[in-house]
Symmetry: C3
Subunit: 371 residues, 3 copies
């Protein structure tokens, strides 16, 4: 069905973008700035075919950059007429419920014409009655081509992989990692500053990265930080602002040391905010049905002393730690970050499922941008 | 894929209808009587493209009639080979669970070859943890082309529309409205009496409309009544039978007055039943997981003193307020009403999503019925 | 769309199978041994078109064998490019939650390019509020082409069939039956011993069938046993090992007597295990959210005195009644059984929905295997 579909001329395939409201100054970087700079190197992405996606640290710098470039292209162009995931079935197994992440993945799959078996609620599963994840993995082998799993247990990925022989994408495992959130984070940053995908020309322009949260115990911020190591040449310093005495945890500290990144820990938000170029806000942790909220010193609003050019990221959902007064300011990169999550997941799914060849003409167009 | 599909000859596209059981006298009006009378005016339906569907009162008489005519055509013909919603993604966001309405919409979407991201249970969402509907709306912008939402809060539609920039279809908001149910109600009535779509020829044939329920606080019956205003030339009187002192509520009373419709309130079912031509039965209100039931004076069964030619509507689900002894009588229009809900929603979705051009030959066939 | 799709040469359509891990000796019979032996007789399967699938006893020996042969073909070949269920909509109505069975059916439907409306949790339905199954059946008539239902009540199938006029597939009704599980069980056995589909050549090679469980009250084992009656010529004796005094129940005993099968009841596992050729393990019954577990005498592990050539079946999920030490032994047919469940359901759905003609060339290929 798909191979025979005549490709529409690229200009007709351009997506009608959902514009932000006119009174908003939120940043919506143009994706074209990223992928038109140079061609997507499909060979780098082919390395991901058939792989499990478990942790942020498994990606190379090149893989992250090429995924972001492909995602930018997918954000720009209508992809569904090419049916890149035709015939592929995905299980979205959310033993820990998360509508945001689940619907983001399901949107990515459906836009690519893949099919979804949805497990929205762990309470409906045999797992709730004591069935092992290993047995569930064995079952999924016969049902699907890829499993996307969220679970409250950090070792859930190890457990299901005892028997699972189709690719597993970790969509959050306990206090472990959330690697596709990190991809969404860096996709937003690369659209904002496409030069992050290149070696730094001017070393004096390095960025100060600040994190409000606890990388040692919060998976989204941990994965973000571990992926930041790939961009260490662009980073001057990492400042973690947390009420915890040791917010990193041993594993993350060790990685930062090996990565040669200068870092600092503080519990004083106001002192550090004015220096930061990128503020990763995650001072709230949703844990199953409850959450842990930091005290009010760790909240941000439009009166916070933020550098004029600084951008704020937030993995969402939020409560009041990130005030809506910031939504229409030029610090708001978090809506772009949320919006892009669908496209970076599309790029990842096409790579893992080995369907990068579905877009021959668009790729050619891109590989010879100067012709 | 869709444009190139050769259209099957219309006679082959005719749907194999699900016949009622032979011993049933329930009314199943033939949809052809409605749409073959005159052509569907697509220009009227194009007015709905990109619109939010929030309240019954937003529709014009012409829009309701053309939607019903298109729905009748969709009930008669197999539509899926034309793929009218190819590539379109819908979120069915049922923060208040409702399997009947959700599955009705999902059936409509799937029959048109659209795709569904299903949120069947608000308890699995960030909303349950305190995330704002405004943030959820921002998220949906990137995930889908249209949102169909049910919610326990009346102002939920206002809240999500703070950030939502793709069309919203209100599938029930608290004690507010349920406009697509009203469309399903009037679709059943227009199939039963196609002349309702035309100016009345004989003014003595006006219909008496009776409502068992409380329009002021029950969204389905409120939307039904507000849509009835469009058909005021065919209505002699509206009688509301309720145990509430003021069952209309101020807003509805004001609309009835402006609409010039004669109305009466009563709490005596038996006195009024024999006069009524159309009985809208909704003396039970499902509210989340519980419901409010009126006392036994407001129940109907096959021994109730109903006019021989009268028809009964009910938005369903029902408990014992509408006895199953009525199911196989010629008063039963409610099964036809339930059955048609899928097709009127198909007509609405095609209009809102701007995909009315997907059916050129069927339309031509219809626009020149005398050729 | 589907009819015009050029069929790929059969050799390209061959499925890349998910191989078991190298250290496993679990039995994964090659499906080709079953369907290449002789052609699928489509006329036998056409008898199932439009039928409700309610109990194991409704199938003929021929129907079970032809379903298994078609399933073996579907396990071997990529079926989705033929879109056999294009345009067909299924409701998976799991009023009793069961992720395993629901996802198995949904996988089968999606692989055949059908569409799914999923009700994963009865708590979100009107049924939870008191709506009758008869009314829900009436609703489904308009929404779908087939209903797959699981329910806690044994008479739920009777109830919904009061109004349902599209085919119903029983996916487990209380302590009633689970006929598609029985098909999956016998599909695994027929792949293991394809000669079961033929009259026995050597009567001395009959099989001893042992059941750990209570057919009288457990639907999976009951349906398995009732379907075993069709294979009575291959069975020497049925031994039921249970802690219940009368594990069969009157209905099953009567059927065994009529079927002329020799049977025995015992509560001593160790005495009988060494004689058994086929061990159906189901000494645990999941009942809604809880389960009933037999005592430790009824558990199996790799030290149990099992005949070297014996195979173990288990409908899964399991807790500790079937130890994982058996997983990598040649007794493990239960993983093959779980894996095949998707394909036997595909074969059944294509038959019930009347879409057996979707595969002309593959059928031709098969019907003349000697050309």
């Amino acid at each position: 069905m798909n191979e025979e579909t005549p490709l529409p001329p690229p200009e007709e395939a351009e997506r009608a973008s959902i514009e932000p409201p006119e009174d908003s100054k939120a940043i919506r970087p143009e994706p074209g700035d990223l992928f038109e700079r140079n061609a997507v190197d499909l060979n780098v992405l082919r390395e991901l075919e058939g792989e499990n996606i478990l942790v942020a640290g498994q990606f190379s710098f090149e893989q992250v950059c090429e995924l972001c470039k492909l995602a930018a292209m997918l954000e720009k162009l209508e992809i569904w007429p090419y049916h890149p995931l035709d015939g592929k079935i995905f299980v979205t197994a959310f033993f820990e419920a998360s509508t945001r992440t689940r619907t983001s993945f399901e949107s990515a799959i459906l836009r690519l014409d893949g099919k979804v078996i949805s497990i929205a609620d762990g309470r409906t599963t045999g797992q709730a009655k004591g069935e092992s994840l290993a047995d569930i993995g064995e079952m999924f082998n016969g049902y699907a081509d890829c499993v996307i799993m969220r679970h409250t247990d950090t070792d859930s990925t190890d457990q299901i992989l005892q028997n699972l022989r189709i690719p597993l994408i970790n969509a959050g495992n306990g206090s472990g990692e959330h690697p596709t959130q990190a991809l969404a984070d860096w996709f937003a940053l690369l659209k904002w500053k496409p030069e992050l995908a290149l070696p730094p020309v001017d070393k004096s322009n390095k960025l100060n990265l600040g994190i409000l949260g606890t990388p040692g115990s919060m998976r989204a911020v941990k994965s973000f930080l571990l992926m930041a190591l790939l961009f260490h040449e662009h980073i001057d310093k990492v400042t973690v602002i947390s009420e915890m005495a040791d917010p990193f945890g041993e594993e993350v500290t060790e990685e930062l040391r090996k990565g040669g990144i200068d870092y600092e820990v503080s519990n004083d938000v106001r002192e550090h905010l004015p220096e930061l170029d990128i503020i990763y806000m995650n001072s709230i942790a949703f844990l199953g049905d409850s959450y842990k909220n930091m005290d009010s010193r760790f909240k941000l609003d439009s009166s916070s002393p933020i550098k004029e050019s600084a951008v704020i990221l937030h993995p969402l959902a939020r409560l009041d730690e990130l005030d809506t007064s910031l939504d229409k300011t030029p610090h708001n990169l978090y809506f772009s970050q949320a919006h892009g999550a669908v496209f970076i997941r599309q790029a990842l799914l096409m790579s893992v499922l080995g369907r990068l060849n579905a877009l021959p003409q668009m790729m050619d167009l891109n590989q010879n941008p100067s012709d």
